[in-house]
């Protein structure tokens, strides 16, 4: 404990000295630092901040020091996060390398590969995107067809990926490719890192119903990939994929939590419901009650479920701490419920706002109103991306309920 107190003191002091004033201001949407070879910094201080944090490995605080990580313990990291919060420091780096690839490399890559790739992730030198889904393989990811042909010292990759976020701005892509037979489909898949700075790789943005999106299609046309870019064994990529998908599911499940849930009652403070407050603005109130009784009932149902859901996430985390277990198949329930709940949240907002929620662009609507409309459309993808709701229900039935197949 004494050590931890020292760590807190040191951290405080370091941040005081090294976190630039500009980096303590609230972030705008354009202020995210994604790293990469051609990294664009919104401000010179952002560059400084990334360099300093990267140097200490604090962009990835708990990763091993030998690969450039911070090497912090669980408790130390908790302190670091608290102190970062205390000075309202912006994240120095946002990166799919940190969120997705890094943990997979730490678990599955060779020593040489770890040395080569992880430090660059920590420092934000390379911007990564993920290439799993293909036009023909949505829920049935393992039916993927992008092919990597063995050409002696390299693979020749041909095929197409979809839903590759920010692919048009990325340096490298981590992909699942087929190196073996189509059947049994899980056995012929490999996990490959591909440099996108070559003529054989091209990207095309995907327009969504909500408008522009960070998603792209990525095409491989005789893309050349050195053999040493294979992670784990040949044809063993599905193990890596499963781990990554589970991780992704947990991330997305969290989305069901924001906004609409009624806040916890604080001593002597009135309780409130974000959704209801908003609804009152648009639908009016009578004697303190939301004027539209049908809408009021729906919001109460939503708030109750939303509260129950976040409570369940909390309970699951308390229980898993207690039993020291990793993510359970019940994470499918969180993915399912969280994304369905988020869709419902926006449907209710639309209902509350009436015609004010029907704008696309231009005059007549406030920016917040237009943003809600776009986000409403965006939420329709929540129950599809990272495994559809149907797939989650299948998983629950199979793995949790143990129903016959």
């Amino acid at each position: 404990m004494e050590n931890l107190e020292n760590f807190r003191k040191d951290t405080k002091a370091w941040l005081e000295e090294n976190c630039p004033p500009e980096m303590r201001k609230p972030m705008g949407p354009g202020d995210v630092v994604w790293g990469g070879r051609d990294c664009k910094f919104p401000h010179p201080d952002a560059k400084l901040w990334l360099e300093r944090m990267g140097e200490k490995g604090w962009t990835c605080p708990t990763w091993p020091k030998e690969y450039g990580g911070g090497g912090l313990s669980f408790d130390e990291n908790k302190i670091l996060q608290e102190e970062l919060m205390a000075v309202r420091a912006r994240p120095a780096l946002s990166s799919f390398g940190i969120w997705m690839l890094g943990p997979a490399l730490l678990e599955f890559a060779s020593e040489e590969q770890k040395k080569k790739y992880i430090p660059d992730i920590v420092k934000g030198k390379i911007r990564w995107c993920q290439g799993y889904s293909e036009p023909g393989s949505g829920s049935d990811l393992a039916s993927l067809k992008t092919k990597a042909e063995d050409k002696g010292d390299h693979f020749l990759v041909n095929g197409q990926k979809v839903w590759t976020s920010y692919a048009d701005d990325c340096d490298m892509i981590f992909t699942l490719v087929r190196t073996g037979p189509l059947e049994p489909k899980h056995d012929g898949i490999s996990f490959l890192l591909i440099d996108m700075d070559q003529p054989g790789v091209t990207t095309k943005p995907i327009k969504l119903i909500s408008g522009k999106s960070p998603f792209c299609e990525t095409f491989f046309d005789d893309a050349v990939v050195p053999k040493e870019n294979l992670i784990s064994d040949l044809n063993k990529g599905w193990d890596v994929a499963k781990r990554l998908l589970q991780h992704e599911r947990n991330m997305i499940a969290g989305m069901g939590l924001g906004g609409g849930s009624s806040s916890k009652k604080k001593k002597d403070q009135p309780v409130s419901s974000g959704m209801a407050t908003m609804a009152k603005t648009y639908a009016g109130e009578e004697n303190g009650k939301l004027a539209d009784p049908a809408l009021r009932q729906k919001i109460a149902s939503f708030d109750i479920n939303s509260h129950a859901f976040s409570l369940t996430l909390k309970r699951a985390s308390e229980e898993s701490k207690l039993s020291n277990s990793g993510p359970s198949p019940a994470s499918s329930m969180f993915k399912y419920y969280g994304s369905e709940s988020n869709k419902l949240r926006y449907e209710l907002m639309l209902e509350a706002m009436g015609t004010k929620a029907l704008g696309w662009e231009g005059e007549g609507f406030g920016p917040a109103e237009l943003a809600i409309t776009r986000e409403w459309l965006r939420t329709k993808a929540n129950s599809i991306e990272g495994g559809t709701s149907e797939v989650q229900l299948n998983i629950i039935a199979k793995r949790v309920l143990d129903l016959p197949q």
Partner: protein, 378 residues
């Protein structure tokens, strides 16, 4: 009430189906949407609709119309709804014409014949808040000699961005919420003091916000008697609700059929996804709900022409039911399409957008459930 269309109505429906397939497939909607035309309708297509006589379907023969009735125009709208055909047909030929039919002989002669012959475009300015509330009219019309001076604002004025004439619901006496004291005026779109701000909706249609900065209108341009506008409004709204329900039914049917086709075609895990029982049951439920919608719509649209005495209630019933089902179908359709369902490239998302806008036109489902209960005495 007949639950089956007559030959005349079937003929109109078939013509519209052919028209939509040839002239206004969803590609047509996309082209307009992606063009610089902010009006979201195509002059040429409009002219063709006019020359087919569609703007005159609710117009009595003496003014050049065919008087084919609400069921006739609604059957056309159902087919056009399938391909999301953008046009001022609903605003003009249903809402506008129905309003003008309550005006004096002179106005009818003048306006109805122009609607039939040249496709004069009408638009109804009624809403003032973010939800349908036909009684809550505070837009003021003050008498000044032979004129009235209109002050106030209107919003969600359908097709208001390019209308030639507006019919405006104003208050000439009493307070907002009162059934009497509401008067209707016809205003030219180039009137002095009229400030029209077109808005671009999520379904890429056009609606407008309108400001009346002391717009002067002659008292002869009033529809019906002073202060007696509400009865006209309610009867026109019910016709319009029935007709828009038909359009929504068309959209829901098309979205459903696109999705059923997709279920038969898309493979996952080595099978057509339509063979998965969970999706089959959801599809079968959609089918059942649509069958109910078809019945409500046909009953509602024929009730006006057959002089039924329950048209208000049937209109609310149809709008409430179809609104809910289009909502369900549009959500289910996108979900069953998976990833491609949320891309702009596929048509299915367009129905999702249209469903939500149409849902709000002249009262959403909850509004009409409430009205249905009231009209039924509870």
């Amino acid at each position: 009430m007949s639950l089956i269309l007559n030959e005349e109505q079937i003929f109109l429906k078939d013509s519209a189906k052919k028209f939509a397939a040839e002239k206004t497939p969803t590609k047509h909607f996309r082209e307009i949407r992606d063009s610089e035309i902010s009006n979201c309708y195509d002059e040429k297509v409009w002219s063709e609709m006019v020359s087919l006589g569609w703007t005159g379907i609710l117009v009595p023969e003496e003014y050049g119309g065919s008087n084919f009735g609400v069921a006739g125009i609604s059957s056309i709208l159902e087919e056009l709804g399938r391909t999301l055909t953008p046009s001022p047909l609903f605003s003009t030929a249903v809402v506008g014409v129905s309003l003008i039919k309550h005006a004096n002989e002179e106005i009818k002669k003048e306006i109805l014949s122009k609607v039939v012959q040249t496709g004069l475009k009408l638009s109804f300015a009624i809403e003032e808040s973010n939800r349908h509330a036909p009684l809550n009219i505070s837009c003021l019309a003050e008498k000044a000699g032979e004129d009235y001076i209109i002050k106030g604002e209107k919003s969600f004025v359908l097709d208001g961005g390019f209308a030639d004439k507006f019919i405006v619901a104003t208050r000439t006496s009493k307070n907002p919420g009162d059934k009497t004291g509401i008067s209707l005026f016809i205003i030219d779109s180039d009137s002095k003091g009229l400030e029209v701000t077109p808005t671009k909706m999520v379904d890429s249609r056009n609606a407008a916000n309108i400001k009346f900065n002391e717009v002067k209108v002659h008292s002869s341009r009033m529809i019906g008697d002073e202060g007696q506008g509400f009865e006209v409004i309610e009867s026109v709204l019910d016709i319009s609700r029935a007709a828009i329900s038909a359009e929504m039914l068309g959209g829901a049917l098309e979205a459903y059929e696109i999705t059923i086709d997709y279920l038969k075609e898309r493979e996952q895990f080595g099978s057509k996804i339509g063979s998965f029982q969970a999706l089959q049951h959801r599809a079968a439920i959609m089918f059942s709900e649509l069958e109910l919608c078809k019945s409500c719509v046909v009953e509602s649209i024929t009730s006006f022409d057959e002089g039924g005495n329950d048209s208000e209630r049937l209109a609310s019933l149809a709008k409430a039911k179809v609104g809910e089902v289009f909502h369900l179908i549009s959500n289910e359709s996108v979900q069953m399409h998976g990833g491609v369902g949320v891309t702009d490239e596929y048509d299915i998302g367009l129905y999702l957008k249209r469903a939500r806008v149409a849902e709000q036109i002249f009262g959403n489902s909850d509004y009409h459930k409430n009205r249905y209960a009231e009209l039924t005495g509870y």
